[in-house]
Symmetry: C2
Subunit: 320 residues, 2 copies
Amino acid sequence: MPETIRNTAGEIMTPEFVRLSAGTTAREGLLELRASGLDSDAMYTIYVTDADDRLIGALDLKTLLFAKDDAPVESLMDANVMSVSVADDQQHAAKLVRKYDLMSLPVTDEDGLLVGAIGVNSIVDVIEEENTEDFERMAGMLPSEESYATSSAWMLAMHRIPWLVVLLLSSLLCERVIQGYQGFLLTSGALGILVVSSMPLLMDAGGDCGSQSSTMIIRAIALGELTLSMLWEVLWKEVRIGLLCGAGLGAVHFGITMLIFGATPMSAMVVALSLLLTVTIANILGCVLPMLAHAVKLDPALMAGPLISTVADVWWPPKS
Amino acid sequence: MPETIRNTAGEIMTPEFVRLSAGTTAREGLLELRASGLDSDAMYTIYVTDADDRLIGALDLKTLLFAKDDAPVESLMDANVMSVSVADDQQHAAKLVRKYDLMSLPVTDEDGLLVGAIGVNSIVDVIEEENTEDFERMAGMLPSEESYATSSAWMLAMHRIPWLVVLLLSSLLCERVIQGYQGFLLTSGALGILVVSSMPLLMDAGGDCGSQSSTMIIRAIALGELTLSMLWEVLWKEVRIGLLCGAGLGAVHFGITMLIFGATPMSAMVVALSLLLTVTIANILGCVLPMLAHAVKLDPALMAGPLISTVADVWWPPKS
């Protein structure tokens, strides 16, 4: 369902860049630059190609400027130049620019011929676009290239409804589970009320903690800080976080319901323990689902708050 | 509570930049550049200062390179140069660089003296940092400058617990409200079960829609697409989106419970209408709260999914 809005490097590159042949001298190069009439930004990195137009190196304007007049650019260039292919994802290009502090990135076609370049300012736009897409996906929306202000209510609703319906279907499962307990709820009096009244609280806490975990994990994957090999380490960390947060919440809830609301120790303890369990399970789901999605090449951002909350909810009723 | 991790322009600027005095000629300027030994990136934009070291203009390396040898830089520069003050928020610097496709941004002190510059590559890092902070805040966490992988479970839990406790306290309110209905729940049989069993579904739908709206609004504010003057327009749009999404969800729920689960038309209709109302209210909260936060200079990202879900939950019980 979630159609992807992914531009390729080929779609965001510009043909505005400086290319010099390997044999050109520094002086000839500067004259070519002057004659090119190109924008300044496009001149900061100069690409060098061989006789077949294949990218063989890069140098910056300063190097060219301060070189000896008759030095061939081939002797000035850095042959170790990073490049992307036209079919590469724009996100890949953005990662390289961010990681290596590049001012521009050359783009080659299938045959390795230099066909364009992506400037750092385009990468800034790509980064914001990708972040917007992650925000949208993580809130259970189909990503859109239109801005909020220019989108109609109808269009926005159409981007929201598909996931809402999916989430509704899983909530329906939860509804059925609770209905399965109706005999118990109708006959157990105070205990039934306890279960029912603590439901929103447990659901909220589980949803909140699951969102926290999944947000951290999705973001860390997006920034390249987490790899699949760290799954067990992350899982163990989230279990500990879950126990800490669950214990904290449980203690606060226990204290308030006992001291202020006059709950019985038994009922206060039941809810506190349910909190501990719910939060820990939500944390586990919040880290495992995005990492599994990443493993099977799905966007981890799909496994975010809304979905995790619903899954955590369905887990809830049988526990109480 | 949410302490801010906001660096100022002064904290992220570098002293590595080229400054020429107004009277310098193009040829002298190039010789100064050569002698500066600065990194290439820092040379692309050259700043011009008056006798008092006050920033009066900027020119790019290419302009200097292709100018007549004896042209004074003052005649080559663009006097309309954008700058930030040392005390300005890094986010403000990032917005200028993004909006005007700048390669670097000069930084002045309180007296207007040029003291540093921020390169576009630093801005790329700032943008990712600010986005991470928004992701964290929107999931109800205190922002952290440490990466997930290098943070201990204890530290991560400490960043999560404060908001979780705040959210727990509002959930407690919800718990009390439901307990207030216990007489009704204990005596009304099937209707009580209907109310209880549809609770998670209504809460989830409200939370999901509220998250969707607040995410769109928070993101649009962050990207500078929404201003306070658009509040009524946005509110009206969200009401329409709420009615569309609510009607869609209500119809799906009505159909499934009637046709598959054999619910009575009356009970199916009650839940469908509750869905419509819950979703619309959640959408209204999801747009109004972040915009109000923005109005009172709070970070709109605080008014995100977790808080909106809880507020929407508290609204829920009295409706049914």
